[in-house]
């Protein structure tokens, strides 16, 4: 009997026809080959932290939980190949043992590394990239069940497509990453008024390795978070009071524990237009949504990259995200603010809520069509498509599979 599956926030749930946990590439290949032959579909589950239904399927759900561990490494060039079923927290620990680290992390480390890469997950920092930027090669099983090895040296375009892939080119079995030497950070959290934060925003972003802020809509206060190398001088923020500080290696001090569950929508914007967008969001929340919205709005920054479907593709970016308790209605709030996000040319975070369809998304990504060509090459029958992916990519499964 199949169990109902639900994501971290509980905002969507489904019951797959079957769940498979292959022990290796050969077994996984056979599952995909069989699915393709039988006109079935396959989706891969990671940690289930995403709140968009990328994983949703009523057919075959694959768990990569048996494919874990470091496969190979060369610390002289800071390269590590890991099996793709590792959780982000496990991977961080494994990298630490090798004296290496991801250059940045998100607000939590609950995701699978494959899922975090596949959805363009990111942390904050003007000069820091999305996590996918570490990907320089690996292996995947495509929609025909073939094992494909790829690398930046041989297939740079394919790697740029594969960096934010939504699980549509295939199922990663190994991820080759170029990392940075392990590092320690000093983290500080500060409270101030949002007006003081916004008046000093450029400086806060420029002067701190990692900077983000939360705005609290029912008090107009902001919590600032700054992280800098331990050995650097820790600057004071004269208009804010420090309420917390800690030091440690990056995997320990960047992500925090999150017990309280929430749904979230987040969009990327060109860095120069994001402050104006935030001001408009703040005004709208206070005008229309404060009755039911008490939780915070998060503002972060990300360096430009060249992954085809990255939210930061081609421009230094900032993100704005809304949070709502899982027990409270979120759609009216998210949809209303999304209209502001869209007016500023925002691109959605693929792993979070959004209401855009393929026709809305295509103009936002200069290499959209090139990505879809790769998808068609790797999965011509649409074995890895679900209805949601069909809507956001504008793809249909092959006629032979639609019956």
């Amino acid at each position: 009997m199949q169990h109902e599956w639900r994501n971290w926030s509980g905002s969507f749930r489904f019951t797959p026809a079957s769940t498979e946990a292959p022990a290796g590439e050969e077994e996984l290949s056979k599952i995909v080959q069989r699915a393709a032959a039988e006109g079935r579909t396959v989706r891969v589950v990671g940690a289930g932290h995403s709140s968009s239904p990328l994983v949703q399927t009523e057919d075959i759900l694959i768990s990569m939980e048996r494919l874990k561990g470091v496969e190979s490494h060369d610390t002289s060039v800071r390269e590590v190949t890991i099996k793709s079923g590792m959780m982000l927290r496990e991977a961080n620990r494994a990298f630490l043992d090798l004296g290496l680290a991801l250059e940045n992390l998100g607000d939590v480390d609950l995701q699978s590394l494959g899922g975090a890469i596949g959805t363009g997950t990111h942390g904050t920092g003007k000069r820091l990239h999305i996590l996918s930027h570490h990907l320089i090669g690996g292996r995947l099983i495509n929609g025909r069940g073939e094992l494909i090895e790829f690398s930046m040296e041989r297939d740079p375009d394919f790697v740029l497509a594969a960096r934010v892939v939504l699980g549509t080119l295939g199922i990663f079995t190994a991820l080759k990453l170029r990392l940075v030497p392990v590092f320690h950070l000093h983290r500080k959290e500060w409270c101030t008024h949002i007006e003081d934060c916004m008046a000093n925003l450029d400086r806060l972003i420029e002067e701190n390795r990692n900077f983000d802020f939360y705005w609290y809509p029912r008090s107009d206060e902001a919590k600032l978070r700054t992280l800098n190398f331990e050995e650097e001088e820790q600057r004071a923020i004269p208009y804010a009071r420090c309420v917390k500080e800690m030091s440690g290696w990056s995997g320990e001090v960047i992500p925090r524990q999150r017990e309280l569950r929430f749904d979230e929508i987040e969009f990327f914007f060109p860095a120069e237009s994001a402050p104006a967008c935030f001001r408009e969001v703040r005004k709208r929340v206070k005008q229309r949504h404060r009755k039911n919205v008490g939780w915070r709005v998060l503002y972060r920054t990300i360096a430009a990259d060249d992954a085809y479907l990255s939210g930061a593709h081609g421009c230094d970016s900032a993100t704005i995200s809304l949070h709502q308790n899982t027990m409270l209605p979120y759609e009216e709030y998210f949809k209303d603010i999304e209209s502001i996000f869209r007016a500023y040319g925002g691109r959605p975070h693929w792993g979070k809520k959004h209401y855009l369809k393929a026709e809305d998304l295509k103009p936002l990504y200069p290499l959209w069509d090139r990505f879809l060509e790769f998808r068609q090459q790797m999965d011509p029958e649409g074995v890895f498509l679900n209805p949601y992916l069909g809507e956001i990519l504008g793809c249909e499964r092959a006629a032979s599979l639609r019956a």
């Binding site: 008024h193 609290y216 008090s219 009755k291 919205v293 008490g294 308790n325 027990m327």
Partner: protein, 124 residues
């Protein structure tokens, strides 16, 4: 210092209007709990909020250290969920040691502010 207070308190008349007047956060319209823990043991406090048309929500958990006070705006409570504004509510405050609970309201819905402060009803 002898221990004073009760372990269960009730506040039946909560309501936070939607619109504030004046600079925030100082003039944000709010209902507020003021809790005194005069004892020598930290107080673990649980707040359960009641509504007219749905099941109670809670507990909202917080700690008041020994021999300290803590003021908590209902507006700021988010765990397990943000309380709706412009909605009538009531609450029960439970603690594992005796505390004293006062209820304050700052009404800034018009420029002429109104302040209300009352001792909550001691249940036990």
């Amino acid at each position: 210092m002898k221990t004073i207070g009760r372990t269960t308190w009730a506040i039946p008349g909560g309501h936070i209007p939607l619109r504030s007047t004046g600079p925030e956060p100082d003039f944000t319209i709010n209902d507020e709990l003021c809790i005194l823990n005069a004892g020598r043991q930290d107080a673990k406090v649980e707040i359960t909020v009641f509504y007219a048309d749905r099941d109670p929500v809670g507990p909202y958990r917080l700690t008041v250290p020994a021999r300290r006070t803590r003021h908590v705006r209902f507006n700021d409570l988010i765990d397990p969920e943000a309380m709706p504004l412009d909605t009538g509510d009531a609450c029960i405050v439970d603690a594992d040691v005796p505390i004293v609970v006062q209820f304050n309201r700052r009404d800034t819905s018009q420029a002429e502010n109104a302040l209300l402060g009352v001792i909550a009803f001691p249940v036990d």
